[in-house]
Structures are given as C-alpha cells and as structure tokens.
Symmetry: C2
Subunit: 190 residues, 2 copies
C-alpha cells in the first residue's frame, strides 16, 4: 500500500543529467531538481542524503551501461572495426563523458558517497583495461604507431567529444572528419 510515487528512477536520472549538463556539478542543486521533477525539495531527501549521493549514484548507473556497451568491442575482429565502434559509442551519448569528468570534484560527504566513488574507480579501471587491450591490439598489429603513449591515444580520443561545434557542422561530417584526423592527421602526405 501507500501512495504512488510522483516520478520514476528514469525521470530522476533524466532530470539529473539535464541539470548536470546545463549547470555543472557546482551549479546542481536540489531546488533545481525538485522544480524539474515537480516535487518538493524535501521529497528528494527521502531518497538521498545529499546531492553527492544522488550524483555519484547516477554516475555509477551511466558508467555501468557504458561498460556494458563497450564490452561488445570484442565482437569485432579487426582493429579498424573496433576503432570505428569505439568512436561511435562515445559519440552516441557524448554528454555522459562530459559528466563523468565531474567525478573528481565530488567530495566524499558520507559513507554511501565513498562507496560510490570506490565503485566508480573500479569501473574506470575496468574501462581502462578494455581500452588498453584495444590499444595493444592496434600496436601489435602495427596499425597504431608504437611510439605514442597509450594514455595520450585514449585521452585524445575521449577528448574529441568535447570539441565545441559552434558553427553547426553536420554531425555526420563532423564525426567522419574527427575519425580521419585521429587516423591519419590533418596534414597531407607530401
């Protein structure tokens, strides 16, 4: 028994994402979230002790679903296909990578937040290992330049989602061009 909830977990996460993208971690408040969900602020405190707990919870959720997708990279035989797949899933939901980068700002205000931070750390490790395998494959196959530092290869790929497209270049052209630069650079061959 008891009355019906006014919002689902989906609603909650969607609103959390929206506010994080728009306002950043420090600009995120329970007041804004309450308004977005059309509930009182006190209601939110029934579910989470503070915003850090909600946000880290949300991040763990997103990271989980990204890792789930990323696992499919092993379905692709050759390195070229894996590269294409990786870029595609990163750009399929580019905002969550922007959000993930806010993780380092979050103070461990209580036990649950600490747990979530640990979980995030372990998820990050899992992700890094999968990506490391991808880079290794590229290097042993002599398809990736051996002298480039692995963290730079991965860092640059993930950084490309944050390049602002102020002039509104069509998404398809934008991504194709990014792939081209990552593969063979901006310079011509002569």
């Amino acid at each position: 028994m008891g009355r019906d909830k006014k919002f689902t977990e989906q609603d909650l996460y969607a609103a959390t994402k929206k506010i994080l993208v728009k306002n950043g971690y420090q600009g995120f408040t329970f007041s804004l979230l309450a308004k977005e969900l059309q509930v009182s602020r006190a209601t939110l405190y029934k579910y989470y002790d503070n915003k850090d707990e909600l946000i880290t919870n949300y991040m763990v959720f997103e990271m989980d679903s990204f890792l789930e997708k990323l696992k499919e990279i092993d379905n692709y035989q050759n390195f070229e296909q894996q590269f294409d797949f990786l870029i595609n899933i990163i750009f399929a939901d580019s905002e969550i990578h922007q959000i993930r980068s806010m993780a380092f700002e979050i103070p461990a205000t209580n036990e649950k937040v600490k747990e979530n931070n640990l979980k995030l750390k372990s998820q990050h490790k899992d992700m890094y290992e999968m990506l490391q395998k991808f880079v290794s494959l590229g290097k042993v196959n002599h398809q990736l330049k051996a002298d480039l530092p692995d963290p730079l290869i991965l860092g640059l790929i993930f950084q490309t989602v944050d390049i602002p497209n102020h002039f509104g270049v069509p998404q398809v052209e934008w991504i194709a061009s990014i792939k081209e630069i990552i593969r063979h650079g901006m310079f011509t061959k002569d």
Copy 2:
C-alpha cells in the same frame, strides 16, 4: 598620499588565476581570494563590484597578452613553422585556455561586465581571424587536408591542451606526440 596597497595588480591576477584553475568559475569566491591575498573581503569590493567584473577583467588581460604573442605567427614564413609556433604558445600557458572556456558561464551582472564581455568577444574574433589565416595558408599550400572543417581543425588543436596527463608522461614527449597525431594521426601508413 594615502596608505600603501597591500597587493599589486600582478598579485591579484595571479591569485585569481590560481583559484579559477583550482575551483572553477562557480567555486571562485571573494572569501577565497581575500584569504589568498591576505586582505579583508571588503577590500576587494573597493576595486570590483563583484566577482564577474574581476574575472572578466582578468580574462581580457590574459586574452590581450595571448593575442600579442599570437601575432608573432606572421614572423614565420612557412606553414609548418607556424604550426609549431602555435602549439608551443598554446602549451606554454595551457591553463589560460581552460580558464577562457569559463567565459560562457559568466552572467552580465552589470555594465562593466557587459563591456568586458563585448571586449572578450571582439578579442575572440581577432584570434579566430588570425587562426583562420593560418588554416587558409595550410589549405592553399595543400599542407592541410582541404575537406576538414576549419572549426574542427582549430577546435581540436585547442582541445589537446585539456587532455589529462594522469600518468605523468614527460612534457616534451607528450607535446611531441600530440604534434605527431595532429600532423599525421595515430595510425601507421599501411
């Protein structure tokens, strides 16, 4: 006459930069700045009506000195040298580019802030024009791939300063590798 100032404009800008890098725009407060400069918070209000005025002022100052340096790009004859020069000045003070990206968060809280925002906008235009010239040179010389969108070329170059170097790859190797990727990509030639 009158008593001596407790800090110079240099001190002020150095402290502003430090806090902006560490805490971001929203985490920047006059309390933190006052503590950093060892003055009372009220003192700061003698110089600036609010933090937006100070921060935009500081940004105009930094942008000015960056533009001054950037102008030297014309001293270099060929495109390759210009490219090298550009990367070098960007990485010489990478933090200011991170700070510059905070500009869009700043609300125009008073007239002076509005003026500063206009000035920033015009500086940005100047910068873009110089960089546009650089890209054009590369394209007419057939040294830059003609089919890549100009804003992507520039956006990606500037984005590379924000790639986190968590594993502490030596700066020289890091930058050399970034140049290599931008020039000819991560992939080998076969």
